[in-house]
């Protein structure tokens, strides 16, 4: 690794950083685009359909519909890029990026595997090394930024349906952010720190010591709020295609639309990684005290992809909530529940558990 770094005229530290950034972010983007396929095929199976299976490379290689990804990408590239006449052009262009980037970079602090020592240097498997001072506050804050992209996309396209969708997204965001934060705060409190590495270490390798067992209520609140945050069914008020055409992305087409879609799936990946880290022991392998690095990465990926699948699964199980139900659930159920969760754990800690 040092040799490679010196070949590229970089210090090993920077080289390692670049490698991590490239691998992590391209992996997430790849997973996100694959997840569009998983979503379509999975939903098809759930609904007794078949789903996209006809796209083929050279008219032959169908690879169970995966060629559809390529077909979609090529189609999006060659579509006409329309911008509405009355739209705020600058923001209209900027919005997909503002939706996409926060969805992606929230992943930066999450450790996706066990750290390892090589040549006297400890390599951490997370883009930002632990002890960076931001910890899990960072993905939460960045996650809050994601709604900005949606709102901006809605606002700049100067369309009534879009703005309705954007406003709904913003309102949903506000009502769910608090409950989610309180659920996370409970974890910080029981852990005694907010660094993801610390949260993972505190959970240990035994499944019954994970936060899901200690704080099932917190998990339910957090997971539900993640649905609202990633704007997915049953809380996809920003889109609401049966009510407000297609909501915030009504006016979007071609690559800009695909970027918005990719943002949604990247956000989903980040959200599932968060859930796995906070409640399911991150890269810890159940019942294995000292897993190898590869095993820990595999374990993390498995957990993350499982939750990403649950996101898809729930989407095709539940209908969309009504807007007032969303508000009711957010303010009158989720918030008090997470508050109760916090108070309960504070009491337990005061009792010396």
């Amino acid at each position: 690794m040092d040799m490679l770094a010196s070949l590229l005229h970089m210090t090993p530290a920077i080289f390692w950083m670049v490698v991590k950034v490239v691998i992590v972010f391209s992996a997430i983007m790849l997973l996100a685009s694959v997840w569009t396929w998983v979503e379509r095929r999975g939903s098809a199976m759930i609904q007794d359909r078949i789903g996209p299976n006809r796209a083929a490379i050279f008219g032959k290689i169908r690879i169970i519909g995966l060629a559809q990804l390529l077909a979609d990408g090529i189609k999006f590239f060659f579509k006409e890029d329309l911008v509405p006449e009355e739209a705020n052009k600058g923001l209209f262009w900027l919005a997909p990026f503002l939706a996409f980037v926060p969805a992606l970079i929230g992943f930066a602090v999450i450790p996706f595997g066990k750290s390892f020592v090589s040549g006297g240097v400890t390599y951490y498997l997370s883009v930002l090394d632990p002890g960076n001072g931001m910890g899990l506050l960072y993905p939460l804050a960045i996650g809050g930024m994601a709604v900005y992209g949606v709102l901006l996309a809605a606002w700049s396209s100067n369309n009534k349906w879009s703005i309705l969708g954007g406003m709904r997204a913003a309102a949903a965001m506000v009502s769910y952010e608090i409950g989610m934060s309180l659920a996370v705060v409970t974890i910080f409190m029981t852990t005694g720190g907010y660094d993801p590495a610390e949260v993972i270490r505190a959970q240990g390798h035994l499944p019954w010591a994970w936060n899901i067992v200690h704080q099932p209520l917190g998990f339910i609140v957090f997971f539900t709020c993640m649905f609202a945050e990633t704007n997915r069914l049953p809380f996809d008020f920003a889109e609401g295609e049966s009510e407000i055409v297609a909501g915030f992305n009504t006016e979007y087409g071609s690559m800009k639309f695909s970027l918005l879609a990719l943002a949604e799936y990247s956000h989903l990946m980040t959200a599932s990684a968060l859930v796995a880290t906070l409640y399911f022991g991150g890269w810890q392998v159940p019942f294995v005290q000292n897993p190898t690095v590869m095993l820990s990465v595999a374990s993390f990926l498995l957990k993350m992809l499982f939750f990403a699948w649950v996101f898809v699964w729930i989407r095709w199980t539940l209908p969309r909530f009504r807007y007032d139900q969303l508000m009711h659930l957010g303010w009158k159920v989720m918030l008090p529940l997470s508050m109760a969760n916090l108070v309960f754990h504070a009491w337990r800690m005061s009792q010396g558990h």
């Binding site: 759930i46 359909r49 199980t317 539940l318």
Partner: protein, 187 residues
């Protein structure tokens, strides 16, 4: 008619959302698993160009103008179908012809032109019902499409040959001179 709306009282378990959601997820997962282990050919979807639906008897698809065994057209140009057609898409021009071997002079009638505008046709089957000679049938071909409007206008020879391949008959492109008097032919 009045409908009595039954209000369902939800128990506390249902009102937590969590339990009903899990039940729903169990159902969808059951479907997922079942479909995961069924080959695509066995699922409900009929993958159209590769697989085709079984067309029931009496289906009203593309028309056929029937012919006698010797290839002569059965239609006698009585205009009944044209009158019956609610979409007004049939247009017929009649002509006289002579089956010289049997009778002398022109005394039989048949369409010189017979056209159906398939873009207008609603496949109601009225023409079939109106026809006194059973000369026009609606059969099982539903793949009626073309790249331009003109080719959706089926003429007499198109209509005579619509099912020629399916039935293994020859395509005919001109009226045969009948050899037997029409009324003696059994259908």
């Amino acid at each position: 008619m009045g409908v009595i709306v039954k209000k369902v009282e939800l128990g506390w378990l249902d009102r937590t959302y969590v339990w009903p959601v899990m039940k729903g997820m169990a159902i969808t997962f059951g479907h997922f698993i079942r479909n995961l282990f069924t080959t695509t050919a066995k699922r409900y979807t009929i993958q159209y160009p590769d697989m085709k639906k079984e067309i029931p008897a009496g289906y009203r698809g593309l028309h056929e103008l029937k012919r006698f065994e010797d290839g002569a057209i059965k239609c006698v140009a009585c205009y009944m179908c044209q009158e019956a057609c609610p979409a007004r898409c049939i247009s017929i021009e009649a002509e006289e012809f002579s089956d010289l071997n049997i009778t002398q002079g022109f005394e039989e009638k048949r369409p010189a032109k017979f056209s159906i505008d398939m873009l207008r046709c609603i496949y109601c089957g009225m023409c079939e019902e109106a026809c006194p000679k059973d000369a026009i049938w609606l059969r099982n071909d539903y793949e009626v499409a073309a790249y331009d409007r003109l080719s959706m206008k089926y003429g007499k020879w198109d209509l005579m040959n619509t099912y020629a391949e399916a039935d293994g008959k020859d395509r005919i492109t001109e009226d045969t001179t009948p050899t037997v008097p029409r009324r003696t032919i059994v259908m």
